[in-house]
Symmetry: C2
Subunit: 640 residues, 2 copies
């Protein structure tokens, strides 16, 4: 196959040399440009829209390309095979850029973290105070005191701390210069190993403050969140989140695993999460705070099983094939350099343990962050991310299962869906004459609709009769907000610049396809909860607390989620929205001595139920794909 | 400075782009070609001979270029500065190629190593039997037994050995494929940590033997020696030695340190010792024996302080400047991958501790290999390498010092000198009519003269009156073997194709310059011994044993060394030639549990005397630069 070229017209145009037969999607990726492509080239999502300006390609099926996109001259990158020189243009909205969000952590969040930690300490756990700094003013060497640099450092350190210093070869390579440029006046960060020895983590010259930080990361399929923690006070300093740039290789874990199996795919996906997602996130966090990577001496990382494999560069291929075997669930403690993250090369890096292919470290860390594992009463954790994971139990046992909810709860696979970004609609009501009233995040002009908004919206659509129990839009209503496209797919318009008095600069709407995606997601979650309870032969009424975690957003209206048949119909006050329990667990593991071991113990004691091996699950799921449920008696309080 | 080109005419010619102003020596080095250059470009050794075929250069001082070389159209690469395009040719003998010597380790050597080890065990040390192999036939995963690969391995390993397995992330990356390609039938090499845990070093599929090897290395300034040891039986499997390819950057440690301080110099010298010297040595050893790098799970490496710094990539710059401070004397235990050697990436690598700038791990390992540190009687270790190091003491104290002998004892800086290679003259006598009789190594035609041969030769030259006490050749003798060049430098011809009945294919001779180099070397050693004894106020007669170690060769004639004034005049039977004590110490550290700690203890307890800080040393040295000594009463038994 002879080589040809693809030229991308942009501010700085690039011309790529590619083999004939390559898709435009793959060609563009070789330039390091990520296109929105949740179906990863299957031609089913219609998102990887580009425009061909010059040259011919061989075009495949364009069924997924929306008529309005086609009208703009767009085509799908994944469905065009390069056969000769071609010049293309990539619209801004097709490009995936993991947009960083630095959020000043709210006082409420800080308080929650601090409270949970204090409670654990009250119950007997101990603060992890093993990292310290030490100033050393060492005597200059002379012929009478000609100790080597490493021994001189050890002697001074011993004198100051009473501990024997273990110095890595990396530090030794820099030590002679640091000693001499700082006139033998140095500062060290060390870890007290508790056995009379100390691991030297960083040596710098001069005076001034020498902060010690920890890093807690939650690697989600769609979003990644990180906290920087002052390891001296255990306080959270800053927080940030960003999109997982792997998303351009598929929206869900299955598509990522498929991509990882392609030649070079695993390396590419590891690069995306390590170099293009978490590293910029860390750099942004420390740039804001003036921290050096060397000051980050401890990290705790929690992610689902696939994310953990990809982060480590371990092939996830067997996760998706029966009998669904992870390569690794208990990762050995790593050193910073092994992660390739911008942190201290000798940092202690702990990866939260996984339980099974679809119950990962995000869940074990999350369980540690809530009281399920230590109370006699039964409680439940429901993590609503791209996958839905459910844990049920008490101090005696923990059962868990996972269902593939898809990215709908995080706004994925919803035309106008998004994460909880400024301008996202987070709450909505619809009046009897089909007119919406909504609230957006930070009260900005509406740009999208996030997880909690979608729940409200679908609830209101059903309540007002705009949709039926299957999510189909009524053909009999008279409203400008309702329309049907040439394929007959219905759409409800929430905001639009074309509507009088609207602040919107773009259309924000929901389609029957979106609603269908959401119904499948809520059906998957509800039927998973039902299956888990059935496996223990217990009714939902035994559950004294349900903790809702995940990217669905702080403002989830639990009442509406129950009305929709997504969450069991038990009193609203049984539910607690706890946010990102995964990063909370990582925070606790960093700041409590017993945190890592307890999380490992939790992982060890969890019993995993493989839903695909449960013959009743599929029936349950199909019955739950209805609003609220085909068996209405399960939702007596639902009024829709 | 504009760029120009240097073309090297050879089988595959290369053209290098270099800056005007570069010496031809540096230009050639950028092509990865090493030229013989013991003075490292100072223009004093006359060895870096090349021929300029085309183009002009700016030529410096050529005093060191021998007339016969000049007659052949040769010039010195270090004294020619590139000013425009030039084409050169490099004679074969100017190129340095670290010629590998695989030596079937002799039964005698094996016996010595085994005896010393057995003696240590008899005295209470214990065999290091911590590396083992384990076959595992693991059950296949299914939905009822869906443990992850790492947990499955741990469970099987626990069942078989009773130990908890620690698996590195590197092994985890390969484990899924190894398990499945070997049908879950694997073999593992592990280290029993002694605390109920095991470090997994290697996992492979299938059946068949799974050997476990150790590597002992002595890094000398001039030569490098390595042993491969069966860690199950502690037996030496094979042995090899080679020239240190750093030699083309200077014959002695000072020149190497100077080169290491140049931009890129440290990296270059590390590359030379790691990639171009030790790695090929290991590859040759394991190619001969069918061992995989992964089977080498433990290594002990001993070298002088400069070699240790360069091997580790730690700058040796402060070693050569008062107050002579090493960057590191006690190196942390490393993992195989940190060394960049072709061994198991998780191998335990121990670097013998140094004492001071010029007393390194080769000496501390060497001391462990001889009984100095454990007997009540006084004894002495003299290591005759490029540097001479002396240790004196008993079980109560150990004193040490070092002198710069130069490479003469290993045949360096001697025109026809060489290491103990086949064809090297190792013993020689001269008759009253000035005719020599000699023995060569392996009885091959004479090609050079090695350390032990040089001692004999100079002794005989003095005895027959060919040279005087200062090493000057008599102008009054009538012999074809004696000649003087145009500068008046005398030469004694030992063998030559021009002499009747000679098997020699080349001239083998010694010059007054060679003799002078040797006298300085022996003077340095003798005066160092004298200084060390004086520091304790003890006469040489208290010494009950002197162990001679180093590259000087098995066949050193101790009697002659005493006659020359090189070694103290005490009974010949007090002396033991023990060969390479450094690699022996490394062997013992690998095969005895207490070996590493004992060597560290020895290093810790050694008191270093800096000769350059001893005002009497220089006088002692000058007095000793005479055959046998300016104070003849010190050598009553010397008859020459």
């Amino acid at each position: 196959m002879p080589a040809t070229t693809v030229t991308i017209k942009q501010k700085k145009p690039v011309t790529l040399s590619v083999l004939s037969g390559t898709t435009l999607l793959d060609a563009v990726r070789t330039a390091g440009i990520s296109l929105d492509s949740p179906c990863n080239g299957n031609g089913t999502c219609g998102k990887c829209r580009i425009r061909i300006l010059e040259g011919e390609t061989q075009t495949g099926k364009l069924d997924a390309l929306k008529p309005e996109d086609a009208a703009k001259g767009l085509t799908l990158a994944c469905q065009n095979i390069v056969t000769g020189p071609v010049t293309i243009e990539i619209p801004e909205k097709t490009r995936v850029t993991g947009k960083m969000r630095i959020t000043d952590i709210s006082e409420k969040e800080k308080k929650t973290l601090s409270l949970v930690r204090k409670e654990r300490i009250r119950e007997g756990m101990t603060p992890r105070e093993i990292y310290h700094t030490q100033d050393l003013d060492l005597p200059h060497p002379d012929l009478g005191d000609n100790l080597s640099d490493d021994e001189r450092f050890r002697r001074g350190f011993r004198k100051a701390t009473g501990l024997e210093a273990d110095i890595s070869i990396t530090t030794l390579r820099f030590l002679p210069d640091i000693l001499r440029t700082s006139d033998f006046n140095v500062r060290a960060i060390y870890r007290d190993n508790g056995n009379g020895r100390a691991k030297i983590l960083y040596v710098a010259g001069g005076d001034g403050p020498m902060p010690i930080y920890g890093l807690a990361v939650d690697i989600g399929t769609t979003s990644v969140a990180a906290l920087i923690i002052d390891m001296t006070t255990s306080k959270v300093i800053s927080k940030a989140s960003t999109g997982n740039t792997q998303a351009s290789y598929g929206a869900d874990v299955i598509n990522r695993i498929v991509y990882a199996e392609k030649p070079g795919g695993l390396i590419r996906l590891r690069k995306e999460i390590v170099e293009n997602t978490i590293s910029p996130l860390i750099r942004t966090l420390i740039r804001e705070t003036g921290i050096l990577p060397e000051n980050i001496v401890s990290a705790a990382i929690a992610g689902n099983t696939t994310m953990t494999h990809l982060f480590l560069g371990v092939s996830p291929e067997h996760l998706r094939r029966e009998p669904y075997i992870p390569a690794v669930t208990h990762v050995p403690e790593l050193m910073g350099y092994q992660t390739k993250l911008p942190i201290n090369p000798a940092a202690d890096v702990w990866i939260a343990p996984s339980v099974a292919s679809y119950v990962g470290g995000d869940i074990t860390a999350g369980v540690f962050a809530v009281p399920i594992w230590k109370e006699e009463e039964f409680s439940m954790l429901i993590d609503l991310g791209t996958n839905g994971e459910i844990v049920f139990g008490n101090s005696d046992f923990l059962m868990t299962c996972a269902c593939s909810a898809g990215p709908a709860f995080e706004g994925g696979e919803i035309d106008c869906g998004s994460r909880a970004v400024p301008g996202a609609i987070e709450a909505i009501t619809i009046s009897d004459d089909y007119e919406p009233s909504f609230r957006t995040i930070m009260d900005e002009a509406p740009v999208s609709i996030c997880g909690s908004g979608i729940i409200d919206l679908i609830c209101e659509l059903k309540k007002t009769g705009i949709i039926d129990g299957r999510g189909k839009i009524s053909r009999d209503l008279n409203s400008d907000r309702i329309s049907f496209d040439e394929y007959g797919i219905g759409r409800y318009m929430i905001a639009s610049p074309d509507l009088p008095g609207s602040l919107a600069e773009k259309d924000v709407y929901i389609t029957e396809v979106d609603i269908d995606n959401f119904i499948k997601a809520k059906g998957a979650v509800y039927s998973a909860i039902a299956t888990l309870l059935r496996s223990m032969d217990l009714p939902v009424e035994v559950v004294s607390a349900i903790y809702i975690a995940g990217g669905i957003g702080t403002n989830i209206n639990i009442r509406n989620a129950i009305r929709l048949g997504m969450l069991p119909d038990i009193p609203e006050e049984t539910y607690y929205y706890i946010g990102n329990s995964s990063v909370q667990g990582a925070y606790l593991a960093l700041t409590l001595n017993e945190g890592k071991a307890k999380t490992e113990e939790i992982a060890h004691n969890m019993t995993y139920i493989e839903l695909s091996a449960d013959p009743a699950y599929m029936d349950d799921f199909l019955s739950a794909c209805f609003i609220p449920h085909t068996d209405r008696s399960l939702f007596p309080s639902s009024d829709i």
